[in-house]
């Protein structure tokens, strides 16, 4: 049975996630200085120079990136709760969503650890640093766990037939992002051009598509929590939201 305290905690989760995403941005852009991303064609010396010119700043950037990743996770739990409510029963789509989300989060962790290794030991070989950097960027941009995650989210949203929590267009937005992510698969083939990890299709378009998606997620989750809170106050059951 949902209580007002549950809703307050979930609302706090959303605020914490906003802070998490802000920390990710600060770490990635402000301290790691990885926007624009270094070109895959950059030499080992150039990669090393980028990380060793300000090693403390890069290490702090990694810390913020990893801390931000942890703090950004709770919003996905709130999404999971609503997807389970929408589906009811065995919740197959919600399970697929949370599993693929968990695995794709590993990609963020991996690139954080790899970049921290780059800044950790200045005397290591430049070739080793280049390989670590390659692995980090491929982990950051290769999308294959994100694709089923977004498809599951889209299909879950469609199951909210009454559109109590999510409008139909939000489901379509998720499906579209899954399609956009397919192009990111090509990052392992190309070192330059639109499909490389610093290219418009490998990096910028998926990143830009994520912005309206995250804003929409927060908007509709805050709205859903308000709806459930009002229903609780009126003594209406909030379980079994499936129409």
């Amino acid at each position: 049975m949902t209580t007002p305290a549950d809703i307050r905690v979930q609302r706090a989760y959303l605020y914490v996630s906003i802070i998490g995403v802000a920390l990710i941005g600060l770490g990635f852009v402000g301290f790691l200085r990885l926007i624009p991303p270094p070109a895959p064609t950059a030499s080992a010396q150039q990669i090393a120079a980028h990380f060793l010119m300000a090693p403390s700043s890069r290490r702090l950037g990694v810390l913020l990136l990893l801390a931000g990743t942890v703090l950004s996770l709770p919003v996905y739990l709130v999404l999971l709760d609503y997807f389970r409510r929408i589906e009811g029963g065995r919740t197959p789509l919600a399970q697929l969503y949370i599993l693929t989300l968990a695995v794709s989060t590993i990609g963020t962790w991996m690139c954080g650890f790899l970049w921290s290794a780059l800044a950790f030991r200045p005397e290591q070989s430049r070739a080793a640093m280049q390989i670590l950097n390659d692995a980090a960027w491929i982990a950051a941009t290769f999308p294959w766990f994100a694709i089923p995650q977004f498809i599951a989210m889209g299909l879950c949203s469609f199951r909210d037939v009454a559109e109590k929590y999510f409008p139909r267009w939000f489901g379509w937005l998720n499906i579209w992002i899954a399609f956009v992510a397919v192009g990111g698969s090509l990052v392992i083939f190309f070192k330059d051009g639109a499909f490389a990890w610093n290219g418009i299709l490998g990096f910028y378009l998926p990143l830009l598509a994520g912005v309206p998606w995250f804003v929409a997620v927060l908007w509709y989750l805050f709205k859903a929590l308000r709806t459930d809170e009002q229903e609780l106050l009126q003594g209406v059951r909030t379980e079994g939201a499936r129409a």
Partner: protein, 198 residues
């Protein structure tokens, strides 16, 4: 005497968005991605026009034209079928139209695979030069959309069996048809960019 309901206003068309409004986020979003791809291709071609035009000479305009004819025909068949399925009572003629559209799609896929095999056998792979890289990527991403579209047509075909469709089902059918038309439109642009612009 009970008050009669006010008559509907004459002369004002009823607004109807084919499919559903949210679906157009997906369709326009996808078209935006392709627009970016086309822009990237044109920019690369402008920088290396000699390489592009030399390599594009190896493509068969006839094969491209047949591909275009297949997709345009399938679009016409799908449009007819969706119209029939939109009627209050479903029309059994819709199902064979969708079957024929599926065969056109299958023909496109078979022709594309054959075309690629021919190019690869001649030694033209994605790493040969920039033209071939973009050729395989653009036609490959489009082919992925065609395959998804064929799955959508398959779903439409199952819906064509029903004696009548609910409003929601009709919207899905229209949306599926719109997706297939988008796939067709994208191919027309690709045909012009890759096969005709020399």
């Amino acid at each position: 005497m009970p008050e009669l309901a006010a008559p509907a206003r004459a002369g004002r068309p009823v607004r109807h968005v084919p499919g559903e409004p949210g679906m157009w986020i997906f369709i326009f979003g996808d078209m935006t991605v392709f627009a970016v791809l086309f822009g990237v291709y044109l920019e690369a071609r402008a920088r290396q026009s000699a390489v592009f035009f030399r390599s594009a000479g190896h493509l068969s305009t006839t094969v491209g034209a047949i591909d275009t004819l297949l997709l345009l025909s399938s679009s016409l068949l799908v449009a007819r079928a969706v119209r029939l399925m939109g009627r209050r009572r479903g029309d059994p003629a819709a199902r064979p139209l969708l079957t024929a559209a599926l065969w056109c799609g299958a023909g496109f896929v078979a022709l594309k695979v054959t075309e690629w095999s021919g190019h690869l056998a001649q030694g033209f792979d994605p790493l040969t030069d920039f033209f071939w890289r973009y050729y395989y990527i653009l036609t490959g991403i489009h082919l992925f959309h065609v395959l998804v579209g064929m799955a959508v047509l398959g779903y439409l075909r199952t819906q064509a069996r029903l004696p009548s469709l609910s409003r929601g089902e009709r919207r899905l059918v229209e949306g599926g048809g719109c997706y297939w038309h988008m796939v067709d439109l994208l191919w027309v642009v690709l045909f012009a960019l890759l096969y005709l612009a020399r």
